[in-house]
C-alpha cells in the first residue's frame, strides 16, 4: 500500500495530466492499489484527499458528465490555474519582500515567500503585529476580483461590493457599497459573525479613483453619524502631559500656550475634533485630571453630566458604549 503522501502526489499528477475530466472510477483505476476497493471507503478517502488539496490551494474543477456517464462527476486541475505564473521578481525585489515578511507576523507569509523562491529572514528590528483573520484574505480577493460578498453583521445579513480594506488604529475595516442600504458603508472586519461568502458571478465596478482613506474619517474623534464634522472643543492640558498631547495632535492643534514656568513648560490649550462625542470623551478622560474641557459650553456640560452619572443615583443618561 502506498503512503498517503505518495497517493496524494499521484492523484494531483493525474489530475494535472489529464485533458478531459476523470471520474472517481477512472481515478481509482489509474491509481492501482492506492485507494480502497470498497466503493463507500473509496469515496470517503477520495473526498478527504480532494478537500485537503483544495485547502492548500489546488484548483480542482468539477464537471457533471452527460452521455453514457450521465450524472457522474468528473475532476481535473487546470495547469494554467494551478501554477504560479507571470511573477518574475528580480533578486532585490524578492529580498525586499522577504524583509517585509520579517516585519509582519503571519503563518502564511512564509509559505508565500517560499513559493517566490525566497527564504524567510530572521525577525527585523521593526515589527508590526497586524491583526489577521480568516475573513480578510477572502475580502481582499473579492475586492480584487470585484465580486459581491455576503456576511452577517450585528444580526443582519449584508450584501456588500467590497471597494477596499483599511487597517487603521489596529483594526481592519471593509468599505463598500451596501446593497441593503444603497450606499457606501464601513464595517469592522473582526465584528463580522461567521464566514464571508463570495457570491460568484455577481460582479461590480469600483468607482474610479476610489480611495478607502478618503471614504473613512481621518480621526476617530470624527467618526460617527454626526452632521457637524467640523465641531471642535477647547481642551487645556497641564504640563508635562501637554508635551505628550502636542506630540500626538501636532502644533496645528495648539490654540495657545501659556509661558513655561518650569522645565516641563506651561499649560497648553488645544483645539480637538469632537464630532464623535463618545470618542472625544474617551480621549479626554484618558488624560485624567491633567486635562479640562474649556468649551464650548454644551460639550463641557456633557462631560460634567457624564462624570456626575457616577455618583450612584443610577440616573446615568448616557451609558451607551463609546468608541475606544
Amino acid at each position: 500500500m502506498a503512503t498517503a503522501l505518495e497517493r496524494v502526489t499521484n492523484l494531483l499528477t493525474i489530475l494535472l495530466e489529464t485533458r478531459v475530466p476523470l471520474t472517481l472510477r477512472q481515478i481509482s483505476q489509474e491509481l492501482v492499489g492506492m485507494y480502497p476497493d470498497n466503493p463507500v471507503a473509496l469515496r470517503g478517502a477520495f473526498e478527504r484527499d480532494k478537500a485537503m488539496l483544495r485547502e492548500i490551494g489546488v484548483p480542482i474543477e468539477t464537471e457533471v458528465l452527460g452521455g453514457d456517464q450521465a450524472g457522474e462527476t468528473a475532476y481535473r486541475v487546470d495547469r494554467d490555474r494551478y501554477e504560479l505564473r507571470g511573477l518574475q521578481l528580480d533578486d532585490d525585489e524578492r529580498h525586499a519582500l522577504q524583509l517585509a515578511v520579517a516585519t509582519i507576523r503571519s503563518d502564511t507569509g512564509q509559505e508565500g515567500v517560499w513559493k517566490l523562491g525566497g527564504s524567510v529572514l530572521p525577525s527585523s528590528t521593526v515589527v508590526a503585529n497586524v491583526a489577521q483573520s480568516d475573513a480578510l484574505p477572502v475580502l481582499r480577493t473579492a475586492s480584487a476580483a470585484r465580486t459581491t460578498v455576503a456576511f452577517r453583521y450585528r444580526d443582519l445579513d449584508r450584501r456588500l461590493d467590497p471597494y477596499g480594506l483599511l487597517l487603521r488604529e489596529g483594526f481592519w475595516y471593509v468599505i463598500g457599497h451596501d446593497h441593503g442600504h444603497g450606499q457606501v458603508r464601513t464595517y469592522r472586519v473582526d465584528r463580522i459573525a461567521g464566514a464571508v461568502t463570495v457570491l460568484d458571478g455577481q460582479g461590480f465596478e469600483r468607482p474610479a479613483g476610489f480611495d478607502v482613506r478618503a471614504a473613512f474619517p481621518a480621526d476617530s474623534k470624527l467618526l460617527g453619524e454626526a452632521d457637524d464634522r467640523d465641531a471642535t472643543a477647547e481642551v487645556a492640558v497641564d504640563p508635562p502631559l501637554a508635551a505628550v498631547v502636542r506630540a500626538e495632535l501636532g502644533d496645528d492643534a495648539v490654540l495657545r500656550a501659556e509661558p513655561p514656568d518650569g522645565p516641563a513648560g506651561g499649560t497648553v490649550v488645544f483645539r480637538v475634533p469632537c464630532a464623535n462625542r463618545d470618542a472625544f470623551r474617551s480621549w479626554v478622560l484618558g488624560i485624567g485630571v491633567h486635562a479640562e474641557v474649556l468649551g464650548p459650553p454644551e460639550v463641557r456640560a456633557e462631560l460634567v453630566a457624564w462624570l456626575r452619572s457616577f455618583d450612584g443615583t443610577g440616573t446615568s443618561g448616557t451609558a451607551a458604549g463609546g468608541a475606544s
Binding site: L5, L84, D90, V126, V127, E248, S324
Partner: protein, 314 residues
C-alpha cells in the same frame, strides 16, 4: 495519516509542492541548505523526498520525479514533467505578502520607488488591485528611534510614566520598535530599572542621543495577547461591563471573557491603578469592578476627584 515525517499530511504535501519546483530550478542542492531554508529537519526532508521519488504512474513510472540523494547529502532532481512551477499563491498567502509589503512600505525610511515598491506592483498585477490600505500612522519620533535601534545609539528620553503619573528622565538602549493594536512601542534596556522595558512611543516627549554606542543583543519582540503579562507589578482586575463596551476586549489583552447576556465579565491585566482609573472613567458607571475589593468604586472616586479638581463650579 502517514506517521513517518511527523507533520500532518497537508503540511507535507504543501511543503513538497514548494520544494520540488525550487529544486527543479537548481538541479541539485544540499540537504543541509534545504532543511534550513524550508525549516524542517533533514530526517523529515529525506523522508518526504524519498516518498516523492517513489511516486509514479504507468506509463511514465520513472519520469514523474527523477530524484536521488547522493552520499554527500546532495539531492539531485532531473527536469520533472510536473511540479516545475510552484502552486499559485493562495488567498491567505497573497494577503500576507501584500500586507507585509505595504506595511513595510509604510515604515519610517522606506523607499517608495525602491525594490519593495516594484515587487508590490508585480504582485498586484498577479493578485489583482484590491483597494487595500494599511495605515500604520506613527508618532513623529518613531523614525528617530528606528534609526537609534539600527545604529545601536543610546538615547536620553523624557517619558510620561502613566503608572507614576509623572514625566521621567531616562537613558535607553533601543532594541526594537514594534506596533500592536495600532500603537507603537519601543523595546529598550532601561537604566532606571536596569531591565528590558517596553515604552509607548506616543508618550516619549523628547529624545536625544547620548553619543554612546552599545553591543547588539538578540531580543524577542512580543506579540499576541501575552506580552502585557510580562510587565512587573501586574494585577488582575475583574470587570463587569455592558456588551456594548466589547471594544475593551478587542483593544486590551485579557485573561478571560465570559458573556452573561447583557454583560461581559472580563479578567483584565492591570499595570497600574491610574490606568484602570482612566479606563473606568471612559467606560462610565455601567461598568463595575467585581474584584479586587480595593478597586471597587474606583471609577466613582475618580469621577468625583476630577469633578472637584476641574469642574467644581459647574
Amino acid at each position: 495519516m502517514s506517521g513517518r515525517g511527523g507533520a500532518p499530511l497537508k503540511v507535507r504535501v504543501r511543503r513538497l509542492l514548494v520544494i520540488l519546483p525550487w529544486l527543479a530550478e537548481r538541479g541539485s542542492a544540499s540537504l543541509a541548505e534545504m532543511s534550513e531554508r524550508f525549516q524542517l529537519s533533514e530526517r523529515e526532508l529525506v523522508a518526504d523526498l524519498e516518498q516523492a521519488a517513489m511516486c509514479g504512474l504507468p506509463p511514465y513510472l520513472d519520469e514523474l520525479v527523477d530524484l536521488y540523494i547522493d552520499d554527500d547529502g546532495v539531492a539531485h532532481l532531473g527536469v520533472p514533467r510536473f511540479f516545475v512551477r510552484p502552486l499559485r499563491l493562495t488567498a491567505p498567502e497573497g494577503f500576507s505578502l501584500l500586507t507585509a509589503g505595504r506595511a513595510a512600505l509604510a515604515m519610517p525610511g522606506a523607499d517608495p520607488s525602491g525594490p519593495l515598491a516594484r515587487a508590490l506592483a508585480k504582485l498586484e498585477a498577479v493578485l489583482g488591485s484590491d483597494g487595500m490600505v494599511l495605515d500604520l500612522a506613527q508618532p513623529a519620533i518613531t523614525g528617530e528611534l528606528v534609526a537609534a535601534v539600527d545604529e545601536r545609539a543610546e538615547v536620553r528620553v523624557h517619558y510620561w510614566s502613566a503608572s507614576r503619573d509623572e514625566l521621567t528622565d531616562r537613558c535607553l538602549r533601543p532594541r526594537a520598535v514594534f506596533s500592536d493594536r495600532g500603537r507603537w512601542y519601543l523595546l529598550a534596556d532601561d537604566d532606571r530599572s536596569g531591565e528590558e522595558r517596553i515604552f509607548r512611543i506616543d508618550r516619549i516627549v523628547s529624545c536625544e542621543r547620548t553619543g554612546e554606542r552599545f553591543e547588539p543583543r538578540a531580543v524577542t519582540v512580543p506579540t499576541g495577547d501575552d506580552w502585557f503579562d510580562d510587565l512587573p507589578g501586574l494585577s488582575i482586575a475583574t470587570l463587569r461591563l455592558p456588551v456594548a463596551d466589547r471594544w475593551v476586549v478587542e483593544r486590551f489583552p485579557v485573561r478571560s471573557v465570559t458573556d452573561d447576556g447583557d454583560h461581559l465579565v472580563v479578567e483584565l491585566p492591570v499595570a497600574s491603578a491610574s490606568w484602570l482609573r482612566e479606563l473606568l472613567l471612559r467606560l462610565g458607571p455601567a461598568t463595575t469592578v467585581v474584584s479586587p475589593d480595593d478597586w471597587r468604586g474606583l471609577g466613582a472616586r475618580a469621577a468625583a476627584e476630577l469633578l472637584a479638581a476641574r469642574y467644581a463650579a459647574d
